[in-house]
């Protein structure tokens, strides 16, 4: 049937068509607004919404495999506080350099006056020696000068961070060897240290793990996993409270299980890396949760000892986090987790409470990191390898670090930039720019769930295409100091509460001004 009638006003059909078009426009606007609310919602700040187990929401089951995640490929050398641990190493270098201020890298390293193990380390990793030298001979003096000019700009960021560092004074570090301190209760104000009671038996290992995980979340851990202790990742000397002649060649008998916990740094603040963000906020929260965990385990009659960034590390934690299924190793060497991406600060508690352990997971990080390289391209110090895979790492001992093959960074170069950047100590830029370090809104949920299930790699490459082409990144040099071609750029602007010029009545010079 053909209708031919022509009416002067809009017909019912026209009305419906116009109404449909108008509804489409309104719906599009409504979705932009709804998206905006979802994107800025506090519920997307994983680890900051609440203290409850729901924060560990990723279903790891499909990605589990029988561990271990790491297998040695050469002779294993345990990490050393004096050499591998960057703070320990630079402190030793600093003491020696201050005693020998005329020493330069052209002189034999033996003349520097550092202990023999560090001499050997510097010979194995000569680039670390060059960077440590540069840090103390050039970078720190320059930073002191920069701070006189730009320090006030970061006044609030520094003050905010100091609130967390101050709390370190209230977190206990073991004061005697594990055989003693791990068996003592932690309560303050008792005239005499009190030994822990008899162990209270759990019904089974699963129940023990279930309880420990539940309370870990309630104590503030966003993520928690359990694995067996392995001596390879414990420092080869210098455990908290131990004398020099302590026998470090074997683990104390009660160091059997490692509970690893992780929390994120606050999501907006960390995006202001490398200048105005702070690691100490994440350090403080994770350390506090670990100390609480040590307390509850001891209260149940089992020895325990926390290794935390605010107190002391007896072990390097990322390998345990990976074995415990929290995540996978990434290009900068840290553990990327499904929930928090790279934005995950770790602590651990070692104990002999028998618990069911977790399995490691593979959810595509290895392949993603091989393709991605964003952190390496952005890193202001060039500390992160640009190689196409860990096998092709170009520095130090190539692909193998202390007997294991995986990604690792040039921590001398990294630390050097820590002492160049403004604001609270550190950089964290590789955390901020990583595509995995994103809040928990539907876009990132989709990416997180689809990519690990896509064996073709198309999702990964599409995500990377969008990440690299749609998101703005400063040039790496822009993060550097004024005078080195940079302007102390941040990946994203500082959150409003850290804008000193809006709050403080002091003269402020912005490094970003032309």
């Amino acid at each position: 049937m053909t209708e031919t009638a022509v009416k002067s006003g809009p017909s019912r059909r026209d009305f419906l068509k116009i109404g449909g078009a108008a509804a489409l426009v309104v719906q599009a606007g409504g979705l932009v607004a709804a998206g905006n609310v979802q994107g800025s919602s506090a519920e997307t700040y994983t680890g900051w919404e609440s203290f409850n187990p729901a924060t560990q929401f990723f279903n790891r089951k499909p990605f589990e495999f029988e561990g271990p995640a790491h297998l040695p490929v050469a002779d294993v050398r345990r990490p050393s506080h004096m050499t591998d641990y960057v703070f320990g190493r630079v402190a030793t270098f600093q003491r020696a350099y201050e005693a020998n201020p005329t020493w330069t890298p052209d002189d034999p390293v033996e003349d520097l006056g550092v202990p023999d193990p560090l001499v050997a380390f510097y010979k194995e990793y000569p680039e670390r020696l060059e960077w440590d030298y540069r840090t103390f001979s050039e970078t720190i003096p320059t930073r002191d000068e920069d701070y006189k000019v730009y320090g006030n700009y970061y006044k609030l960021a520094d003050a905010y961070s100091s609130g967390f560092t101050a709390h370190a004074a209230y977190l206990p570090t073991a004061g005697s060897p594990p055989e003693e301190s791990d068996f003592m209760e932690m309560q303050r104000n008792w005239p005499e240290p009190k030994p822990i009671g008899d162990p209270v038996p759990f019904k089974n290992e699963e129940k023990a793990a279930e309880f420990i995980k539940e309370v870990a979340h309630r104590y503030g851990a966003t993520l928690v996993g359990i694995t067996r202790a392995k001596i390879d990742y414990f420092y080869s000397e210098g455990w908290a409270g131990c004398p020099e002649d302590y026998d470090y060649s074997k683990l104390p008998e009660h160091w059997q299980y490692v509970i690893v916990i992780g929390v994120p740094m606050e999501w907006d603040t960390v995006l202001a890396s490398p200048q105005a963000s702070t690691s100490y906020e994440g350090y403080d929260r994770v350390s506090t949760a670990a100390v609480r965990l040590e307390g509850v385990i001891k209260n149940l009659g089992y020895p325990a000892r926390a290794s935390t960034p605010m107190t002391y590390y007896d072990m390097i934690v990322p390998p345990f986090a990976i074995e415990a299924g929290l995540g996978e190793v990434s290009r900068p060497g840290y553990c990327i987790t499904p929930e928090l991406g790279s934005n995950c600060r770790l602590a651990a508690v070692v104990t002999n409470l028998p618990m069911a352990t977790d399995k490691p997971i593979k959810f595509g990080v290895e392949e993603f990191c091989n393709s991605c390289k964003i952190c390496a391209e952005q890193c202001p110090s060039g500390a992160i390898s640009m190689a196409d895979s860990p096998d092709e790492q170009e520095w130090g001992t190539g692909p193998v670090l202390r007997g294991y093959k995986h990604w690792y960074i040039n921590n001398g170069a990294c630390y050097n930039f820590w002492r160049e950047s403004m604001g609270p100590l550190g950089c964290r830029l590789c955390v901020a720019v990583c595509p995995y370090s994103r809040k928990d809104n539907w876009i990132h949920q989709l990416a997180r769930e689809v990519d690990p299930r896509d064996p073709t790699g198309i999702t990964r490459e599409s995500l990377l295409f969008m990440q690299k082409n749609f998101f703005d990144y400063p040039e790496a040099v822009e993060y550097r100091r004024v005078g080195s071609g940079g302007h102390f750029a941040s990946y994203r602007p500082e959150p409003a509460f850290l804008h000193a010029e809006d709050f403080l009545d002091i003269p402020i010079t912005s490094p970003h001004a032309d």
Binding site: D14, A23, A33, F471
Partner: protein, 101 residues
């Protein structure tokens, strides 16, 4: 907040019905016969197109507005290409005489 509440999504549902009704009338006026698979394709297209707006808003909320806009442009471009193909598919089996009301 209104934009993440149940009332808002109810409103969005009503708008979807209105859009569907308008599309139905538009199809009739062009003489298209809307079969189930044409409806299905049109719905998929609409979801993709609208997803561009939702993603744009989400990235604005994440303080990544320019990335959101670029993403939206990409979705709009893809939608435009898909729309050409969809148009041809929708026209399959259309009656010769085009309704004007």
């Amino acid at each position: 907040m209104f934009f993440d509440g149940n009332i808002f999504w109810l409103f969005m549902g009503i708008l979807t019905v209105v859009v569907g009704g308008g599309f139905n009338e538009f199809a009739k006026s062009r003489g298209w016969t809307l079969t189930w698979w044409k409806w299905a394709l049109a719905v998929v297209w609409y979801i993709i197109f609208m997803m561009g707006f939702y993603a744009w808003g989400t990235l604005i909320g994440e303080n990544e507005g320019s990335a959101g806009f670029r993403f939206f442009l990409m979705i709009a471009f893809i939608s435009a290409i898909l729309a050409v193909g969809l148009w041809r598919l929708l026209a399959i089996g259309s009656s010769k005489n085009v309704n004007t009301q």
